[in-house]
Symmetry: D2
Subunit: 368 residues, 4 copies
Amino acid sequence: MKNTFGNNLTVTLFGESHGKAIGAVIDGMPSGVRIDESYIALQMDRRRASSALSTARREADQVQILSGVKDGISTGTPIALMIENTSVRRSDYDDLSDKPRPSHADYSGYVRYRGNGDASGGGHFSGRLTAPLTAAGAICQLMLKEKGISVMTHIASLHGICDRPFDEENLSGDLQILEQAEFPVLDEAAGEKMKQAIREAAADSDSVGGILATAVSGLEAGIGEPWFDSIESMIAHAIFSIPAVKGIEFGEGFGFEKLKGSEANDPFILKDKKIQTLTNHNGGVNGGISNGMPVLFQTAVKPTPSIAKKQKTVDLSEMCETEIEIKGRHDPAIIHRAVPVIDAMTALVLCDLLIARFGCDYFGREKE
Amino acid sequence: MKNTFGNNLTVTLFGESHGKAIGAVIDGMPSGVRIDESYIALQMDRRRASSALSTARREADQVQILSGVKDGISTGTPIALMIENTSVRRSDYDDLSDKPRPSHADYSGYVRYRGNGDASGGGHFSGRLTAPLTAAGAICQLMLKEKGISVMTHIASLHGICDRPFDEENLSGDLQILEQAEFPVLDEAAGEKMKQAIREAAADSDSVGGILATAVSGLEAGIGEPWFDSIESMIAHAIFSIPAVKGIEFGEGFGFEKLKGSEANDPFILKDKKIQTLTNHNGGVNGGISNGMPVLFQTAVKPTPSIAKKQKTVDLSEMCETEIEIKGRHDPAIIHRAVPVIDAMTALVLCDLLIARFGCDYFGREKE
Amino acid sequence: MKNTFGNNLTVTLFGESHGKAIGAVIDGMPSGVRIDESYIALQMDRRRASSALSTARREADQVQILSGVKDGISTGTPIALMIENTSVRRSDYDDLSDKPRPSHADYSGYVRYRGNGDASGGGHFSGRLTAPLTAAGAICQLMLKEKGISVMTHIASLHGICDRPFDEENLSGDLQILEQAEFPVLDEAAGEKMKQAIREAAADSDSVGGILATAVSGLEAGIGEPWFDSIESMIAHAIFSIPAVKGIEFGEGFGFEKLKGSEANDPFILKDKKIQTLTNHNGGVNGGISNGMPVLFQTAVKPTPSIAKKQKTVDLSEMCETEIEIKGRHDPAIIHRAVPVIDAMTALVLCDLLIARFGCDYFGREKE
Amino acid sequence: MKNTFGNNLTVTLFGESHGKAIGAVIDGMPSGVRIDESYIALQMDRRRASSALSTARREADQVQILSGVKDGISTGTPIALMIENTSVRRSDYDDLSDKPRPSHADYSGYVRYRGNGDASGGGHFSGRLTAPLTAAGAICQLMLKEKGISVMTHIASLHGICDRPFDEENLSGDLQILEQAEFPVLDEAAGEKMKQAIREAAADSDSVGGILATAVSGLEAGIGEPWFDSIESMIAHAIFSIPAVKGIEFGEGFGFEKLKGSEANDPFILKDKKIQTLTNHNGGVNGGISNGMPVLFQTAVKPTPSIAKKQKTVDLSEMCETEIEIKGRHDPAIIHRAVPVIDAMTALVLCDLLIARFGCDYFGREKE
């Protein structure tokens, strides 16, 4: 439903880039979950613009919890999260209101809302709205941690530069690396090259994109629903909500095209008396339902459309061709900032599916 | 919601491969839509097993319309579609009930349903349930045709063999080709090679997969919702419901990784006084909302997991490793049969989004 | 959503009075629930036309389970229920298609569906569609029985004739009476008077209505959701779906107008070390959530609008005033037949809310 | 879904009586609707505590619009409304946290949320959360006014004192009276008696309830959905969300028990060449769908459970019987304050159903 996502655990998103505030409401929240605000702040930090790589705009991104938490514990009723917009320079954008920026939502949103939309800085379509999603997802990650489930994401490749793949035998090790990394890669050297590529794109008034790889460890078998609420359908739905995402694949994904069935199938084996698969080409999901192996997927993130180069566009009021130069503050790459957002949306989906199966009392605990 | 998909126009799916009947209920159906049963039958034919390429199982797949249509016109109340299962050889599958087939839903479904599931032939997870989806989608395609919107899909590549891409300047020509094609490719010669590859896989008791490309022509700008009900989120959700789908990308998708922002952006231009984009790297969608250009996406389909080769698995009752040979009837490739299913699910999403914007009276007409 | 109701456990309804078949799909069904078909048949019998009191139309109402049940146990995937329409005399109704019957859905449905609706015998609006709802509800009642929860309904009053009220101290006794009663009253003598009143109305080509009282025993405290998915909101939503229902009240309901707060409040007490309330004016619900006391509500059912007397109406094609005489088969009272439908819809809501709280594995069990 | 209501136009509610803020998010909002903040403020005033009749607590109830409105016009993206809690005296309530107040949600909420809920002043269950609902509903009423649809409510009776009924021939006159009334009655003399009864209850540390009557004028025929989203189901669902509501009836409602079919049916007639009904016993709804006549319903509101008299309850930590005296601020009657809340929820349902039929562009307009 438009700005609400989820079945049992839902998140409702609101706000515009240059409005008073942005935020999210989490409903279906289990009671008795410890809400560690420092963990939320940590995820917000990961999403925030950092150093030379990112936009000069620095929002404090102070997440206010308006409801649903008492003495650091979830009450079970809706958690409303709000972030006030404090660093708004609307003037940077105002002259663009009639000149839609290429590959942004300016034009499609203009038609959708019959010219009434708030286009400044992307308005409701702004990547800035991933901030409350990240906060909401951080709360979901706190729930997953209760159950020993971890979600982790790294930049698998950026404009041709590749990180090493996840070590599926040691995902807890990779998780540790990523939790401490200032830049979300497993191989620091690869990360340095990526950062260099980002700086070069910036110097050229251009931008770059890449591919993110995500792993979920600790998810038991039997989670997900057949057909429309499969893990893959739900995660894909959630991930495509994130601006600049243009593709998702599970397991081998598009690489399956090169494999035969006999190469692609994952035989079942017993390991420590538990059922596992010998390989994990299917990324931990069979028939839309988890099989107990790590859930693996990759996400394609396009280059940031906001570039400083002069671009062609159309003047909507004059209905003539024209050019724009996007001033304002923008990122030569957003892919590293998308990492905690991917983690957040994935955590939200997993909590939702776990609650569908086990009920809302599955997470949290009775008050002592 | 599990077996119901859509917001304003919904489809609810039911049935098992070897049960009495399979079917779907369409709700939110506009009144006054001409329901051309021969068009539904045509789509069912496209989905059905054909010739040497596909399984020997031949269901008549006779779609019965139980409700919601009077004198060939939709009444506006739910259309229930039912297909009786007439050609069921349950014995082929029964000995497998304790031996989950690799990369099928047998094991994950076993855990999900606590051993109570009907596993014969995949049960509720069977690809056979795409038959009622195809019928429901055919009805949606009839609605889209009223408005000049077409959905078309071809096999872009199959195990390394590529079809020519869509001609975006002449999608109506490509549509004609695909409507008449016995095998869903644009270049007949490529199709012959693909069929040969399928036959070779079959001869080797193996299977192959590939990539499907889909185009939507005639969709106006401004359709789709921000964030969670974007065209991309909704189509991805729907497409991942189809068994064997493991990836989806819009426009350049994973190829964006190779492009810089200045190469990836689609500048707005005026053409015949209408706003268009010079290129269409974004596949007709900006910010989740249509921009008036053709909507383009590609779907990764894994090789059919049912292969005749002996495979490793685990015996669930004995909890020991064992092997299986899948007898029964199965396809060396299902990708060509997935084509009408992709079209169907895409049509369903588009009708749903159009109704969200324009209401349920947008389609169909008043009785004369 | 139009013809789908419920959040976690949903029912989707389809069919028309005079079409091929009517039915319902239950989704979100727990796996491992014993599906006792004779119990379903029993509820269908209670709903069916009986003796001189009800319409001469006698449908076999044979419920076919098309999917979701294997060897008498729910699989966890959708249960599709279908009842074929075998006793259709469309001619009785056809001449009325342009002359809407007063207080039926004929005219409002005509406008809603732009003249395309199937009006014969009420079409999709027909009370006949309560048959699949009753079957679906019977399955829910089987689940509730697993947990010691019972739903029971009697005719509290019919055109001025009153039954004795529930004995809240002995609801299991009242349940026994109602399970064995041919006519759903607690006091047989009152029942005889009611039947006499129905016969008199019939003799006068007229009809009567009344008030049903429902009790739920065995429901623990803490079930229901705040605000929009309160027990009261959900039950009211479900009950108003039943044709001819025009009112619902919980506990004292409209009688609260006569009470002061000090008379209306239900003090908490301890009884057998358990928290109860001394009185139950609130009908077992506080703040929308169960408090452990019996849930009590009353439903107003209007007189059947189908009467044999000549009535004024408008001819829709000629747009002039005219008269109709409704031939066909109709009931002088449907209130006794509404009893199992009320029980069914109530059971559906309770299962839905219990699954929301405790998950779908709360009901049913693992396969042995 | 718990704290979200509606299908196409939804409202999501958050907050606790004594938390930082309460609020609501409206999604599915049409673009181009003029948002008159003074009209919202007017509805807030009607809901707020007034004079000697109501609680001494006086919230400024300043509604902040955080998003979705630009230059007084709706953008089409979510409108978030927030009201900060400024007048919180938590101490009045804190000693009650273990002693549930009779007929409040304290105990049922305690069980529902496993002791983690915020019980102060009712927490999330507090009637205070009707403030953001009223604000959201005011926005819906602005939309309905665009289309000539009015919702109006008066106190039909209060502890035995009756107002005159609506004049169905002159609802616009009654609307005028109610818009200007300080106390929501049609007959001022009756209102004085009611106020006297409220003052007497207050003097006696007691409270009173009553019955509200609502009329909707100007709604065309054909609005509503069959079965589960009927006007009656949707309005009942919404109205039962309001604290203290214990009953609802449409048209004659429970009074139908006294009528025969021939007396209860509403014959169709032609009046000024338009189809109407001669009587309106069915309250403007047939088969769940509007028939063009005024929609009429009545709501039962129980006496405020917060009374100053000493009451029995149970101490949850000691598990022993005890007594409480509710201090804090409370109302001897809330029925007059419920009036704008009823109007608000009704307006929300009507907008939702109109958008379902006609799309979200039905309301509002293109930017000039």
